[in-house]
């Protein structure tokens, strides 16, 4: 019984903390950029989905011994509702210095267009 309790306590001490990551949302004429702060997270521990107009992020901090001096590693989870004028097929994501940059292109119909003027002649 005592041992079980000890294990339970140990597990709760090492269990990840659920964290909503800080983010910035930028809108350009042709795309939308979302920047998430994910310090201590490796590329392979990031799961990113875009479905039904929602961007869903799930990422975990590294628990390798060399990096695991956090008492409890963070698990970052976020769901962002994005405008439906985006092209779900054109998403790029990169992780650099603990910041995940997600770039989603706007659908062709939402991008600025230059209309050529035809001559009447």
């Amino acid at each position: 019984m005592t041992h079980e309790h000890a294990t339970e306590r140990e597990n709760s001490m090492n269990a990840p903390r659920n964290v909503h990551p800080s983010f910035d949302l930028l809108e350009g004429p042709r795309d939308l950029v979302v920047l998430f702060d994910l310090p201590g997270v490796k590329e392979e521990s990031v799961s990113l989905r875009f479905e039904a107009g929602q961007l869903v992020l799930d990422a975990s901090q590294s628990t390798e011994p060399a990096e695991a001096s956090w008492l409890r590693p963070a698990r970052y989870r976020a769901t962002l509702e994005l405008p439906d004028s985006l092209d779900p097929g054109a998403i790029e994501a990169s992780l650099d210095d603990g910041v995940l940059e997600v770039r989603i292109a706007k659908a062709a119909r939402a991008q600025p267009r230059t209309i050529a003027i035809k001559s009447a002649n």
């Binding site: 800080s22 983010f23 910035d24 949302l25 930028l26 809108e27 350009g28 004429p29 950029v33 920047l35 702060d37 994910l38 310090p39 201590g40 997270v41 490796k42 590294s62 990096e67 001096s69 956090w70 008492l71 992780l95 210095d97 603990g98 910041v99």
Partner: protein, 157 residues
């Protein structure tokens, strides 16, 4: 406002222009408020997560500084105080409108009083994936020290 245009024959009011002006005013007000909010959050100082870990032979200080480059982080050790300064994060690219600003972007400074003496010459710092790790070997290795107990010979005066 409408009274000015009572005589419709003189010139109908350009309603679309009124709306465009209202929209423009709303946009500039929103932009001003966002800039103010960003400045306020920077001025208040972001809560930087850090931990000081005692690893028997060394103290290990770790702090999260996402979006900073190793060149923009300065680590100094003076007596028993460790100071970590980080410059402001990179500016946003041009041509983008900030719709939400939640990441701490301002410069930060952390001062940590160390609980024991460290070997200043042996301190190392690494920056990986937005996490700064400073390893400070202790000046005197810790660990339990056995104190020998001597007996006092009561027979001697």
């Amino acid at each position: 406002m409408l009274t000015l245009y009572r005589d419709w024959g003189f010139g109908a009011p350009d309603v679309t222009r009124w709306f465009a002006e209202i929209d423009a005013a709303e946009r500039s007000l929103k932009a001003a408020l966002e800039t103010r909010a960003a400045r306020l959050s920077d001025a208040c100082g972001a809560t930087v997560r850090h931990v000081l870990h005692d690893q028997d032979d060394a103290l290990v200080f770790r702090t999260e500084l996402p979006g900073r480059s190793p060149e923009s982080v300065e680590v100094t050790l003076e007596a028993d105080t460790l100071t970590v300064r980080a410059a402001a994060a990179r500016a946003f690219p041009e041509g983008y409108v900030v719709r939400h600003h939640g990441r701490p972007a301002g410069a930060s400074s952390q001062r940590i009083s160390l609980p024991c003496a460290v070997d200043a010459q042996a301190v190392t710092a690494t920056f990986l994936r937005g996490v700064l790790t400073v390893t400070l070997p202790k000046a005197v290795p810790g660990g339990p020290r056995r104190i020998p107990v001597t007996t006092i010979d009561r027979s001697t005066p």
